[in-house]
Structures are given as structure tokens and as C-alpha cells.
């Protein structure tokens, strides 16, 4: 009888002991887990190792679905980043129009944007084919906005007007695509209005730079044109009641750009007749930086 009790006590003790070890292991396992997970992120479990219970089986299929989604959005983020870089290059290229031959630069920008559409954007369209684009919009909206900025800047230099949404949509629609995986008549990248408008708003900053730079080379008509265009643009956006936080921020930036251009025009009018052209640029930039807060202008 006593022996039985003793054995039982030992058994309970061992049980507790083992339990604690397991418990400690569990806690340790979890705390070190994030690092290990990072390290073996691409590690795929061998499916033979997984116990074949219904729960584990369904989680295996959930993993497949989750991975597919994450991989796709990762690929889109990469494409979007490349598109951003290339679009920024086009914008810089177009800023040279104040100094160099305009038509050549515009041709070059056209060519660059076209090749961007045929390579990166076509891949984006292929990735999005058959998907709900709003699931992945967050992954490619940055690239889209920067691209819209570049396209609208180019369009402004050509036509002195705002690029219509239909033109951007047409450039991002591809016909007779045959990529092995997908063979279809037309695929396109959807351009949601909000994201299009967000891209357009960035145009303000570029036009402001263009206006200031034009003064530097003695071109006094461009700033005036830009000024009236930006005013109309700002008015249009003010009436556009699709405000989200990004839009509000960008509107503030646009407002700053506009007031810089307005101040520049003012300075031109007042001082234009008395100061030599070379001095005017410095004058204009010093006036415009003191009258409005430049810190809010990022990008």
C-alpha cells in the first residue's frame, strides 16, 4: 500500500517535471521563433512530415493559398519599385527641357515610358489578370502614382493641359498577349480614380520646379502659364470631394507649390524690369522659400 503511494508520488513528480521541461521548451521555442522564421522564410516543410489529421491537412492548404498571395504581392511590390525608379528618371529627363532641345527630350521620354509599359506594366497586368485588383492595389499604387506623375508631366509639356484618365488607361492596356501562362486578347492594369488623382497631384511639385528653372534661363512666359494652370488644377481638386488622408497631404503640398509659383510671378512683375536675368532666378527662389514653408514639400 505504502509502496503504491510512493510510486504514485514519484510518478506525479516526474509528470510535473516533464511538464515543466516541455513548458519551458515551448516558451523558449516561441521567443526564438521570429529570428528562425526570418532565417528560414523560404523553408518549405516536407509534406510527409506533417501528421495527416484533418486539421493539419487543411492548414497545409491554407499555407499554399497564403504563400501564393504573399508571393504575388511581393512580386508586384518589386515591379512597382522599378516603375517608380524609371518614372523618376523620366521626370528628371524632362526637367532638362529648360536648357536643352525640347522636342528631342520629349521623344526620348516617350520612348522610355513606352518601354516601361511594354515591360514592367505588362508584367503587372499579367500578375493581376483574373484577380480582384483591390486586393493587390496597395502593392502597386506607389509605382502607379509615380508613373501617372511622369505621364502627366510629359503630357503637360506637349499640350499644356492635364492628361485624361483614358490616355493612361489606354497605355496600360495590352492586346494579343501571349506569355505562355496567359493567352488572352486584352489585359490591362486597372487605374482607380483615387490613385490616378493622387499621381496627378504630384505634378504640382514638378511644374513648380519647371517654373522656377524657366526663370533662370530667361523664360518668363512659362511661369505665367504654369501659374494659371496650377490655379485651375487646384480649384478642380478642391471641388473633388474624395478626400482621404493621402489626398489631404498632397493637396497641402500642391498648395505650397502653387503659392511658390504665384510668388515667383509676383517677383517677376515687380523686379523683372530692374534686375538682370541672371539675378532673377536667385531672387525668385529666395522670395519663394521665405514666403512659404518648404519643409512640407517632400519628394
Amino acid at each position: 500500500m505504502i509502496v503504491e503511494v510512493v510510486i504514485f508520488k514519484i510518478a506525479t513528480f516526474l509528470n510535473v517535471y516533464i511538464f515543466n521541461i516541455n513548458y519551458n521548451l515551448l516558451v523558449k521555442h516561441n521567443s526564438g521563433e521570429s529570428r528562425r522564421r526570418q532565417k528560414y522564410k523560404s523553408h518549405k516543410y516536407k509534406d510527409d512530415d506533417i501528421p495527416k489529421t484533418p486539421l493539419m491537412m487543411s492548414f497545409t492548404s491554407y499555407r499554399t493559398d497564403l504563400d501564393a498571395k504573399h508571393d504575388k504581392s511581393e512580386r508586384l511590390v518589386k515591379l512597382s519599385r522599378d516603375i517608380t525608379i524609371e518614372s523618376k528618371r523620366v521626370i528628371f529627363l524632362l526637367h532638362r527641357t529648360t536648357k536643352e532641345d525640347k522636342s528631342n527630350l520629349i521623344l526620348e521620354a516617350d520612348k522610355k515610358l513606352h518601354s516601361l509599359e511594354q515591360s514592367h506594366w505588362k508584367n503587372v497586368a499579367l500578375e493581376l489578370h483574373g484577380e480582384d485588383i483591390y486586393l493587390f492595389l496597395r502593392s502597386y499604387t506607389q509605382g502607379l502614382q509615380e508613373y501617372v506623375e511622369a505621364v502627366s508631366f510629359l503630357y503637360y509639356l506637349k499640350h499644356k493641359d492635364l492628361v485624361p484618365l483614358s490616355i493612361v488607361k489606354d497605355s496600360l492596356t495590352f492586346h494579343n498577349v501571349d506569355s505562355g501562362a496567359v493567352t488572352t486578347k486584352t489585359i490591362s492594369v486597372e487605374v482607380p480614380i483615387i490613385d490616378f488623382a493622387l499621381g496627378l497631384t504630384d505634378l504640382g511639385g514638378e511644374l513648380m520646379r519647371l517654373a522656377i528653372n524657366s526663370i533662370g534661363v530667361g523664360d518668363f512666359t512659362t511661369p505665367k502659364e504654369i501659374c494659371s494652370f496650377l490655379r485651375a488644377f487646384y480649384d478642380g481638386l478642391m471641388n473633388f470631394r474624395a478626400t482621404n488622408w493621402q489626398m489631404n497631404k498632397k493637396l497641402q503640398v500642391l498648395r505650397n507649390s502653387l503659392s511658390k509659383v504665384e510668388n515667383a510671378c509676383y517677383t517677376l512683375k515687380i523686379r523683372g524690369s530692374e534686375a538682370p536675368k541672371e539675378l532673377l532666378r536667385d531672387l525668385v527662389s529666395s522670395v519663394s522659400t521665405t514666403t512659404c514653408n518648404t519643409d512640407e514639400y517632400d519628394n
Partner: protein
């Protein structure tokens, strides 16, 4: 000089206004869903009371019957979403869906002692299970979030079962939760809200294991 700007923005405005109408109507359906989910949740909460533990199965059955209302509202909601725009409005019903997944998973565990699968939840909610471009479906991450919510509710239930004198349920819950943990470990989670929620699972498991430990050390469980 005249620009295209005013015409352009007024055409944008029309689209945005249309969207706004859809949003308002979606919100009202979601509110109905929230109301129903609160009612079910209130019912489920009675399980934690001392006599509730004994009648858990009946309560779960009652909760399951209330899903007919949930089905009705999901059908209404689905009819409001334009094709291919599920994720445009997803944020509106994300949280309520997670909670309803939790309720579905919890009732199923109480009744059958197993994890409800995603397709079963979708069936209960009267929505599609697979993500396709043009159907109202159950988002996988919402389902998984709901399952994790169930885990923390179960850890609470384990504690309260003991208080009510039920020593078998905590052991069942413990086994179930460790299998669930194994399941979640199969997933490659990103650094998002699901990942954060999953990181909380270990505390729920620890709680249940402590309960089981207390039961075992006092030899209260009749099962060996």
C-alpha cells in the same frame, strides 16, 4: 486658356459619389451583422457561467440556429458589392467577419470538439469559400483571425470548466490547442496583424496547460 480640368474632375466626382452610395448601403448591412454577432456572442458568454458549462452543448446548438440570421445578412451584403470589387470594400466587414468566424469555430468546437474548416464556415455564412474574382467569399486571413480569437476564448473556457467541476474539457481543449498551434506553425506568416495575433496564441496555450497541470497534479481527472 481653357483646360479639361473641370470636366475631368466632375466626371471623377460622379464615380466617387456612386461609390459613396454603395459604401453607405454596405455600412447598414454591416451594422445588422454586428448586431447579430453581438447577440450570438452574448449567448455564448453564458457558457462561462457555472451552470452554463453543463449546458454548453445546448447553448452552442442555440447559437448555431441563430446563424440563419447571419446568412440572411451576408446574402444582403453580397448583393450590394459590385462584381470584382470585394476587396475595395472589404475593410467594412473585415472585423465583423472575423468575429463571426470565431463564433462559428467556437460553437463547432463545443459541439463536435474539432476545428471547423474554412469551407464549413463559408457554408454557415452562405458565402463562397474560394477566393475568386467575382464572388463574395470568406477571406482566408479573416477565418484564421477568427480561429485565433476562438483559442483565447477556449483558454478562458478551460478555466471556467474547472470552476464548474468539469475536469475533462480542459484536457480536450489542451490537446486541441496544441494541434492548432502545430497547424499555425505550418503557415509562413508575414509581419502583419495575423502574425501578431498568432504570437498571442502561446499565452493561451500556456494558460490551458497550467489548468491541465493543476488538474493532473491533484489527480482530479478520472481519465488517466
Amino acid at each position: 486658356m481653357s483646360y479639361q480640368i473641370p470636366q475631368m474632375f466632375s466626371s471623377f466626382q460622379d464615380v466617387i459619389d456612386q461609390e459613396q452610395i454603395i459604401r453607405e448601403s454596405v455600412k447598414s448591412s454591416v451594422q445588422n451583422l454586428e448586431q447579430t454577432s453581438r447577440t450570438i456572442l452574448a449567448l455564448i458568454q453564458t457558457i462561462h457561467q457555472e451552470n452554463g458549462v453543463k449546458t454548453a452543448k445546448e447553448v452552442a446548438q442555440k447559437a448555431r440556429e441563430m446563424f440563419t440570421t447571419v446568412r440572411k445578412y451576408y446574402e444582403e451584403l453580397a448583393s450590394k458589392i459590385p462584381s470584382e470589387q470585394y476587396y475595395k470594400y472589404h475593410d467594412h466587414w473585415r472585423f465583423v467577419t472575423q468575429r463571426i468566424c470565431f463564433l462559428a469555430a467556437f460553437t463547432t468546437f463545443i459541439q463536435d470538439g474539432r476545428l471547423i474548416s474554412k469551407s464549413e464556415v463559408a457554408e454557415m455564412l452562405n458565402v463562397k469559400s474560394e477566393r475568386t474574382k467575382d464572388s463574395f467569399h470568406l477571406d482566408l486571413e479573416d477565418y484564421l483571425m477568427g480561429v485565433l480569437q476562438m483559442a483565447s476564448e477556449l483558454s478562458r473556457f478551460a478555466v471556467n470548466s474547472v470552476t464548474a467541476g468539469d475536469y475533462e474539457t480542459p484536457c480536450k481543449i489542451s490537446n486541441f490547442m496544441s494541434e492548432l498551434d502545430g497547424g499555425f506553425r505550418l503557415l509562413n506568416l508575414k509581419n502583419d496583424s495575423l502574425r501578431k495575433k498568432f504570437d498571442g496564441l502561446k499565452y493561451d496555450i500556456r494558460k490551458v496547460e497550467e489548468v491541465v497541470y493543476d488538474i493532473r497534479i491533484r489527480n482530479l481527472s478520472t481519465k488517466k
